[in-house]
Symmetry: C2
Amino acid sequence: MRFIQQLQAAWQSSDSLLCIGLDPDLERFPPSLASGNGNIFSFNRAIIDATHDLVCAYKPQVAYFSALGAERQLEQTIAYIKSSYPHIPVILDAKRGDIGSTATQYAKEAFVRYQVDAVTVNPYMGFDSVQPFLDYQDKGVIILCKTSNTGAAQLQEVQLQRSGHNSEPVYEYIARLVAEEWNFNHNCLLVMGATWPQQVARVRSIVGDMPFLVPGAGAQGGDVGSIVQAGQTAQGSGLIISASRSILYASAATDFAQAARAQAGALKNAINNYRKKHAAAL
Amino acid sequence: MRFIQQLQAAWQSSDSLLCIGLDPDLERFPPSLASGNGNIFSFNRAIIDATHDLVCAYKPQVAYFSALGAERQLEQTIAYIKSSYPHIPVILDAKRGDIGSTATQYAKEAFVRYQVDAVTVNPYMGFDSVQPFLDYQDKGVIILCKTSNTGAAQLQEVQLQRSGHNSEPVYEYIARLVAEEWNFNHNCLLVMGATWPQQVARVRSIVGDMPFLVPGAGAQGGDVGSIVQAGQTAQGSGLIISASRSILYASAATDFAQAARAQAGALKNAINNYRKKHAAAL
């Protein structure tokens, strides 16, 4: 199945736009999980088992695994989701970007080695650095547009002046490039940070129904109501709203998985309160 | 020792600006090395042993390892250079970039797990995505500016208009940001593709003696004479000129290491023909 269809099915079956980011940080694990890479998979599995009915996707962040030499645990985590909850898409948050021959290797890392359904990529190097990912037609390619961090404005908000075009900030130019030139396989999505509702609304007006991955809804403080109102499509979807640390580390005690479920459920409901179809159903 | 000093010492002792990129591609290995990840380290070691006196740095490309699940072979390769040729800096070509908390993990991957001396990073997400790397004062942080690929122009060459500033392309703005705001620990370098001599000259005029990593001198067809003349400092250095596939796969037979040495020696000499101090010495 193509990624966009897989995602639509997951939105529907879970009645949720929530994605949980899997950023395993040994220092924040509960004491019941003794330190050591072996527990990374145990931690992730407990989180997944406790939240699988509340989410439309999981998003492991490769940096947390590679910093520890824990690629095996990343493989196990992804394989566990695929075998236990095969309807839930898995997004590898990797933000890769390199010349074509190297990007081919990164695409292989994501789609062949790790077998994920989608991956985040960086647009700085232009089309040929993204094409090897796009060529996997059934996979999602999620391109950084306006990221959630405070430094995002430094380049992404600067005004571009192209001849024959109106002045526009870098992130709008990227959104336009993706929608008009890079989406020929209908497998592109954009990263739009939860901290920037105005920009989310602006990009929604440029790219139609293209789905957004929206990180920063948890620890980074993005306001869920504003972001849903700014970014949802006419169908009340179009968003993968991701939170990581606020859910994973909701409790530092042995009840971490139950606490994660409570936090995820609250965020799912908060999001649904602002969705059009839910408003219509009242 | 700080990375810039380590690099200067390596330029001097090797009398070379050449860097060899280690991009192990099993499909291009000689038949004498049967396929399988175990031979990646053997291949790299043969290349390193055959070329160590000709180079100022080695640059393993992490994508080629991670596509194959060959992180162990990457660790072995780096450890081999460090133990056998400790004066040669090792650059991890990874082009990482993410929000601060994740960038902290990527910096740990490069500098703690792999123990490299420098890493390439992507500036699209702004200062806070780069700072965790900069905080390792003794390590080099090599920021993408104008990359060697054909698609580079799509974003990097577009004109920016900042209020109170002259119009300038994205890559010049990045060069200025790095030189004026990000280089407080004097550990920044820039990626300037060998395919763009005019842009290399322009950025040299903006950033003073800041070293450039210049990929694309081999298979990508960058002209060595133009690039050395455009980018060298008054001391006839300032450049780490990298070639990968043209050296690694100079021969597909059992003589691959000797062929790599011949190719590397020829490229080193071609570069030196255009260096100021060599011209002065004639």
